[in-house]
Symmetry: C3
Subunit: 259 residues, 3 copies
């Protein structure tokens, strides 16, 4: 028996939005620790890693570890039927071929349940090595989304350069060049508006806009995004899920073809 109840069901809706552009289908691994997902995107370029700890659920029971393969277009249809203020409960048997979603309105006067067939998916768990990053930047997630979208107009790749003064995003294309510079913030009233840089050594790496823009679909999950950069290793773009989880996107930098 697996059962997980989240009063703030809107979080699940946002998680869904954060992965559905990247993944057609995905396996959710459930254990007593919570729910996890790890998958390469459809084009096998970037990696998504999702973690929701059991402590964040109002009710969480997982008698036996289980893996639920879901078609994300179907899952998205179902979660769209939940109102933002609904509580959402997932239920499955120990060796399930369906999963059930129950949505309860605040006053409990509307109760919906949706049952979805599960699918079998090949799984390959990639070990993600723990890395010390040269630069770790925290910045408002909405700014990151805006910058990626703006600069994508001018070229296919964005170069992210980080020094202790701040972070710079650059693009060059047919119609010209663009740079957006964010200074590390001294002190800000709202923590959510801060830009902070922890730097061991400066880095400058180039990434495909297309994937960065996919990652920013997680923006509604968190007011801040964390970018971790080191030369020659994948960028990590991380959004917190409440206080009990995160979604991380990994994307390898472009190799400079002149080298």
């Amino acid at each position: 028996m697996f059962e997980a109840r989240l009063t703030q069901g809107s979080l699940l809706k946002k998680v869904m939005e954060a992965i559905r552009e990247l993944l057609n289908e995905a396996s959710f691994d459930c254990s007593e620790n919570g729910i996890q997902l790890q998958a390469m995107d459809n084009s096998h370029v970037s990696l998504v890693s999702l973690n929701m700890g059991s402590e964040g659920f109002d009710k969480f029971r997982c008698d036996r570890n289980l893996t639920m393969g879901m078609n994300l277009a179907s899952l998205s249809k179902i979660l769209k039927c939940a109102s933002n203020s609904d509580a959402i409960t997932l239920k499955a048997q120990d060796d399930p071929d369906t999963v059930t979603f129950t949505f309860e309105s605040e006053n409990n006067e509307r109760v919906s349940d949706y049952s979805m067939k599960l699918i079998n998916l090949d799984q390959e768990h990639l070990g993600i090595p723990d890395t010390e990053y040269s630069c770790v930047v925290k910045m408002p997630s909405a700014d990151f989304a805006r910058i990626c979208k703006d600069l994508s107009q001018f070229g296919d790749c964005i170069t992210i350069s980080c020094t202790k003064e701040g972070i710079k995003f650059s693009v060059a294309g047919d119609i010209g060049t663009g740079n957006v510079k964010l200074a590390q913030t001294a002190n800000v009233d709202k923590e959510s508006e801060a830009v902070t840089v922890e730097m061991q050594e400066p880095v400058s790496l180039t990434f495909a806009c297309r994937y960065l823009n996919h990652f920013t679909k997680a923006t509604p999950l968190s007011e801040q995004v964390q970018l971790s950069l080191s030369a020659d290793v994948p960028l990590v773009v991380e959004y917190k899920i409440g206080e009990f989880g995160h979604i991380r996107y990994y994307l390898a930098p472009k190799i400079d073809e002149d080298d």
Copy 2:
């Protein structure tokens, strides 16, 4: 001479939205009692019946009964030109080939008039027998619209089941099943949020989503919708038009093919 003036012109705009998906053209019957319309939808599956009593108009004069056939795409274009706060006046001669719409802004500083050619339409008035329904449900119209839209994602038909506890909407399709249950509300602060069920005997009937979704275009007219159900007779979906009229949609249930 026919003349009808409605200070709250936005009502007419909403009535138009409520029928334009279902009907390409329609005959409006005007008499001293008010304005009526009855028509099968374009695909001859459902029936629309509209009634606006003369008492709801600020001014209403109809010297001789008359029938005005209108192209609803044209009518829709004209009513779009009225602001929501405009008063709307309809005028026609006794044996008219055009109808005139006058829109007056609140301060009367903007006055628009549109003249539209009428068309000749065949008419067949269907007698709608008075029926005692097994179940009559009143519920928030926005909830009904949301449920029809949500469940339509999963299949072509929705089963509406009604007991004295409440009403259930169900769907089954390729990706799974869905149910939305609304309990009869005990006491609610706002009457518009109440769910009430008057039941003689329980019913469970299945309807094509497509038409239910068309009917919900009337949602802006009224905060509550009334569903009347009996085995083997058409469902009636009714929205009030202010205090002086209503729009009713009739849709026959699907016959269970296993019978």
Copy 3:
């Protein structure tokens, strides 16, 4: 060296929106007096004339007169990257082949710069004779936009008739006719809502809807629009740009084919 800084950068964004539907590319003429642009629209029917006086800029320096030819699709992409509250600075060398745009956020923590290649454009400056107009109408720009859009549904041309009582917009087409009449306002609380008519003699002229609708893209620039009309000369539609500039559109009336 050319440098022009505008704290209220959103004005430049609005100017861009006001011309980009009409023009694919345009030459901006810079002198110590400010920035000017004059161009026929893509189909060579209407004329756009833009003027921003140097006094409206926080900083304005233009050592030598220069002309910068820009692709407006590219310029539009760049200006979209400016937030509405950003200050915008344009910079160019004396004989430039690029222009640089710098966007600074209010707290100066985000600084973006975009460099765009200039293009060479043929230029033909048309002398626009000073004309005494028979009628000069000022009216709310949003009303003008709404009326042009509404009436365009019914025909290709709008007839604008002006008397000392007010202004009338008319259309006739297949489905019928439409007229919108605005009375000169006696006294209004808000100047922006006034309709005023200065009339030497009444006029009635017909214009292509298509261009009028293009002109109304300038609506966000100003709450009032000024229409200047005389028989047989182009209509002038003018929007103020703050206190220091204007955009004027010129459109010749349709010749009555019965003449």
